[in-house]
């Protein structure tokens, strides 16, 4: 690699060619403030906060987008630069609702931090901000245009990473705004509610719809028996919300914290993930042996289901009829659990903690009700909302004693643990399907080719002497490639796993802020280390799952299973 010599703030440095000034400066511990810049996303150079002075150039240049050149002399902190930066942030603030103390992003807002860093004690420019309507028309995502600073991150994610193109920049000049198509609400617009926009928003303009109040109300209601399930991807990310290092596994402390919050029982969605593998695995075997519709596609991810129902209604019969683990758990919590405990289902309040915003929408679906009068899952919290509740309660997370999950939904396997990462559902399914079909133990449980952040991954497995191809896609733009093959009848696969978010649930729209590919990889590593550390690593070996079938469900794909654990999908592609 060719090296380039330059001077930054009078320090002579040498960096690889094509490095940007921003990265070069960072490498030598000179931090240039940024705002629209977000690791792994397109460089937009819109906010102009990262401008620096380059000798010989009349204007200032944005360091995020300008590559270094030999002999370049850069000043990142000249009076001219500092004044420009300050003015730019003042201008942003002049068109922003600055009621910071009542903002959901207070103390974790990138704009607020920047204003503080630059020492903006007063704004020379009078406010020109005009109040607009907040979009609260869906269960998942709230969009508050009054806080939007037009950095373009959300539009980039929605259009380029997900390919969903729901968010757009409308208008021009001072009237530019980020909006859903036709300037309508998200709910009118094929939004998959993946929440990736919320996850990259530097301010409070796009956030999950906050359900913590509903949960607090239930927790303080003496008549309610409040139970909670926690998704696999939460235990490797919640730590970031409570001051731990990225990738820290916090399972035991998390359970303990939730007990302190007042949940009567703390269960593990991993249990339902194991159950999903039994049902979905058997569905796959049935489709393969009975000449059913192939390839079969996974159904755990609600963002993907929203995507398929709105964009690919013609391939819905490819999607497994299995409910997602969240909803399998919900159905059991409102049927099997009351039967076992004698508690009136009407008094049971089911909360999920999910890495996901689309799960909030999923829980509200009409199909997801054992009793048509109330949803199986009453409230869904994101990882961030759980973190918020832990802070509200003043819990000293770090010094908690670890606690185990409660029975009867507490024992889990390594197969379920990896559900939260791209390729994990597929790997878990193979571990079971292989052994069920081939009637012999699988040698080597790790499917390395299905792991990692590559957009589309493939593997081949031997099922009953026949080599079968499977594929895994994450992000909806990658999913689109596989969906088009299915639509055209050219898909070479028997089974396809799709997760909406980059990296899978560990990169979900409800996960702690600051998710980048580096962070994703850390969470993924923790996930696989959890799997490796577990004594049970195959879903069909989960004793609680075996007991559930024995006591209650009787057999996979049986009558009761169909009633409780399976669902159906709807064509929602009509736009007018």
């Amino acid at each position: 690699m060719k090296m380039v010599n330059l001077t930054i703030n009078n320090v002579k440095v040498s960096v690889e060619e094509n490095t940007t000034i921003l990265k070069a400066a960072k490498k030598f511990n000179m931090n240039i403030p940024t705002l629209c810049y977000y690791e792994d996303l397109d460089i937009k150079s819109d906010c102009r906060v990262c401008v620096v002075e380059v000798e010989g150039k009349k204007g200032l240049v944005s360091s995020c987008s300008t590559p270094v050149v030999e002999g370049m002399v850069v000043n990142t902190n000249s009076p001219r630069v500092l004044n420009a930066r300050k003015t730019i942030v003042e201008l942003i603030l002049s068109n922003h609702d600055t009621n910071c103390t009542t903002c959901v992003k207070n103390l974790r807002c990138e704009l607020q931090t920047l204003a503080r860093t630059l020492g903006i004690d007063e704004n020379r420019f009078p406010s020109v901000f005009e109040k607009c309507e907040i979009d609260e028309g869906n269960p998942s995502i709230q969009r508050n245009p009054n806080l939007c600073i037009k950095c373009g991150r959300c539009v980039d994610v929605c259009n380029n990473v997900q390919g969903t193109s729901v968010l757009a920049i409308l208008g021009r000049g001072h009237n530019v705004k980020v909006s859903a198509v036709f300037d309508e609400k998200l709910s009118d617009n094929f939004c998959t509610f993946c929440g990736q926009c919320a996850s990259v928003c530097p301010v409070g303009a796009i956030t999950e719809k906050d359900d913590t109040d509903i949960v607090w109300r239930a927790l303080t209601d003496p008549k309610k028996h409040v139970i909670v399930q926690v998704a696999p991807a939460v235990r490797v990310s919640l730590g970031e919300e409570v001051g731990q290092k990225v990738g820290t596994i916090v399972t035991g402390k998390m359970v303990a914290a939730m007990k302190i919050l007042g949940f009567d029982q703390v269960f593990d969605t991993d249990f339902a993930a194991d159950l999903t593998i039994i049902e979905e695995g058997n569905e796959l075997i049935q489709r393969v042996t009975n000449g059913g519709v192939l390839p079969m596609m996974t159904s755990c991810c609600p963002g993907w289901i929203n995507y398929a129902e709105t964009r690919y209604p013609d391939i819905l019969d490819h999607i497994s009829s299995c409910k997602s683990p969240q909803q399998m758990f919900g159905a059991l919590a409102k049927s099997y659990y009351p039967k076992k405990t004698g508690i009136d289902p009407k008094d049971i309040f089911v909360v999920s903690v999910m890495p996901c915003t689309a799960k909030k929408y999923e829980a509200k679906r009409e199909e997801m009700r054992v009793d048509e009068n109330s949803p199986d899952v009453d409230a869904v919290l994101t990882t961030r909302e759980l973190g918020k509740m832990i802070k509200q309660m003043g819990i000293d997370f770090e010094n908690l004693d670890e606690k185990p999950f409660d029975s009867p939904f507490g024992i889990t396997t390594g197969a379920a643990a990896i559900f939260g990462t791209t390729g994990g559902v597929m790997e878990a399914a193979i571990r079971t399907v292989y052994e069920v079909v081939n009637k012999k133990p699988l040698e080597g449980l790790d499917f390395k080719e299905l792991r990692g952040l590559k957009g589309i991954k493939e593997a081949e497995i031997n099922l009953g002497g026949k080599m079968v191809k499977v594929a895994v896609a994450h992000t909806l733009s990658m999913a689109k490639i596989l969906c088009d093959q299915v639509r055209n009848g050219t898909s070479p696969y028997a089974f396809i796993e799709i997760m909406t978010c980059l990296g899978g649930c560990i990169g979900g729209g409800g996960q702690p802020y600051g998710t980048s590919n580096t962070v994703r990889q850390e969470r993924i590593n923790s996930t696989y280390s959890l799997d490796a550390s577990m004594s049970l690593r195959k879903s069909h070996e989960n004793p609680e799952v075996i007991a559930l079938y024995k006591d209650y469900l009787k057999e996979p794909l049986g009558k009761l299973s169909h009633h409780l654990l399976h669902t159906h999908y709807h064509d929602r592609s009509s736009k007018v």
Binding site: N159, S165, L167, A168, L170, G171, R172, F182, K575, V576
Partner: protein
């Protein structure tokens, strides 16, 4: 019907979007693109509707709300401003009984501002649909408008 005919003239390439929108909008007597039409155009070109919406909202020629049969655009920039001592806009507003960015109740006229029309040597100017009227005076404006009214 007519949109389909217009679409067929253009290759299914996303760089044709602006040309299609201009062509179709001027063919419509109310000079706007509806939601249904946005969907149809996006579908034809194989692009997301959000892209069509972004384009429509960026360029001043386009409207997503119905406008009058005749769109009157008045230049508001410096060369036209110093070329005359009459208030062109006010005269038209009074004459039509509407304010800028409004449409007459009979859907005949919409009044808008425009940026410089590049006719600074013959200002003040206004544009009605594709035709530019120069050296405007109060009398001239009245005469032009009554001509449009006669031809209704």
């Amino acid at each position: 019907m007519i949109l389909k005919e217009i679409l067929q003239k253009y290759p299914k390439k996303d760089d044709q979007l602006i040309e299609i929108l201009l062509d179709y909008q001027s063919a419509k007597s109310n000079h706007y693109i509806s939601k249904e039409e946005i969907i149809e155009i996006a579908d034809y070109l194989g692009i997301p509707e959000s892209k069509v919406c972004s384009v429509l909202s960026f360029y001043t020629f386009f409207s997503v709300k119905p406008r009058g049969k005749h769109i009157i655009q008045v230049c508001k920039d410096v060369p036209c401003y110093v070329s005359s001592n009459i208030d062109i806009l006010k005269i038209i507003e009074t004459e039509l009984g509407i304010l800028v960015n409004e449409t007459t109740p009979n859907q005949q006229f919409t009044l808008e501002f425009t940026s410089c029309l590049g006719c600074c040597d013959v200002g003040p100017v206004m544009r009605i649909n594709d035709k530019i009227y120069t050296h405007l005076t109060a009398d001239k404006i009245k005469a032009i408008l009554s001509e449009y009214r006669v031809n209704m």
